[in-house]
Amino acid sequence: MALQDVCKWQSPDTQGPSPHLPRAGGWAVPRGCDPQTFLQIHGPRLAHGTTTLAFRFRHGVIAAADTRSSCGSYVACPASCKVIPVHQHLLGTTSGTSADCATWYRVLQRELRLRELREGQLPSVASAAKLLSAMMSRYRGLDLCVATALCGWDRSGPMLFYVYSDGTRLQGDIFSVGSGSPYAYGVLDRGYRYDMSTQEAYALARCAVAHATHRDAYSGGSVDLFHVRESGWEHVSRSDACVLYMELQKLLEPEPEEDASHAHPEPATTHRAAEDRELSVGPGEMTPGDSRMPAGTETV
């Protein structure tokens, strides 16, 4: 372009971060190549497969997550814990890159503790969220991936913040993060009320994660359930996701399940039949498209 030629401006060759970016404070970054390229060339294929959710209601904040850590198509750990305690009244659900989440949560724990010592009281959940967001914003463009929901109880009651490493910081009532989040939102949005009882909230959270693990390939393992009350956080339960889903199906389906050899198509269709039954269709009727596959048929 004309102006470029006049000014003799040349586009930089490398895709690396400009020297104007702040140095990765405190962390050693390999010289010569920038983190993005380094990870692309040498790093493992990081996937962001998970289902975590959190919602606040009258009696506190519920945090639930699956426990599958995946690395591409490989399940690195089927029983990891994706809910990290920060202090007695603050939990964080983590999604994105596990290493980034773990590191930044340690940093957050340290910062909050220092502030507690300096100021004499723990910062509120909103401050913790802002702190985390501000710390991560210095690394904009360096491919950090931390998508987290901070669940806590502070002076203003139960609070929930969603913080993402691109700088997003949102307060809300319901958040679900990860590849399984659309499925979880579907179940959560239909069952959520601020005035739920604690047992209803536990059931809703477990149900949402179980349905998400059923549909999402990158979520599975078990379902972790945490509850932040006024007195602090509590690990309520860890239940196997498949078992939980089967139990949820049994709750809907009064008749015993047929023919255990049809493992996969069966639960889906009976589940849908049960749902239709609840709405308007009579028992035994199936809506079109719900065709049950007989044993001998093979479809490509």
Partner: protein, 195 residues
């Protein structure tokens, strides 16, 4: 994609934006009120774009305007505010770009009510009416048709309503919930509109 619309009259400015906070295909919030950054009760920065970028950029600009005020014991003029915002966008454009579109509005004693349209590439111009986003495509023609030099506040609000109804009718995404900032009489009022 955020829809931002602004109309400036002789003695008022109305800014409007949809109240959805989106991340890929999911609406994180249906009542998002973090697109507007009110500064000192006389200036307003309306941002649209990805949530992280607009949060970071909006806070950054707002705090710097406050810093100017404390350092110099006087408010920035709207023109300076707009030029400062544009300059910052331009500075980061080739370093660490912020993908935000802005509408900058305010009132000062020097030049009255002013509205500036600034896009993510830091193109900026002083305008009487402007819109950003996919919704802005639909709204621009309506603004062109119904705006006139002596437009009143009521007419402007009606024009906004026309824009919102058009978006409801023709825009792919369902955007029925909007937030307005109305600046007149030295104050800024917030209104929520559902179409």
């Amino acid at each position: 994609m955020d829809t931002l619309i602004g109309i400036k009259g002789k003695d008022f400015i109305v800014l409007g934006a949809d109240s959805y906070c989106i991340n890929s295909i999911i609406k994180l919030r249906n009542d998002d009120n973090t697109k507007f950054y009110d500064i000192n009760g006389k200036k307003c920065l309306l941002l649209g774009g990805s949530v992280g970028d607009r949060t970071q950029f909006g806070e950054y600009i707002r705090k710097n305007i406050h810093l100017y005020q404390y350092q110099n014991s006087t408010d920035m003029y709207v023109k300076s505010f707009a030029f400062y915002t544009r300059k910052q966008l331009a500075y980061y454009l080739r370093r660490n770009p912020y993908e935000v579109n802005c509408l900058i509005a305010g009132h000062d004693n020097q030049s009255g009510y002013q509205l500036y349209w600034c896009d993510y590439l830091s193109n900026m111009d002083a305008v009487n009416k402007g819109a950003h986003g996919y919704g802005g495509y639909l709204a621009n023609a309506i603004l062109d048709k119904y705006y006139h030099e002596n437009i009143t506040l009521e007419e402007a609000l009606l024009t906004f309503k026309k824009c919102f109804e058009e978006l409801k009718k023709r825009f792919l995404l369902t955007q029925i919930s909007y937030e307005l900032r109305i600046m007149y009489d030295d104050k800024i009022e917030t209104q929520y509109v559902t179409v």
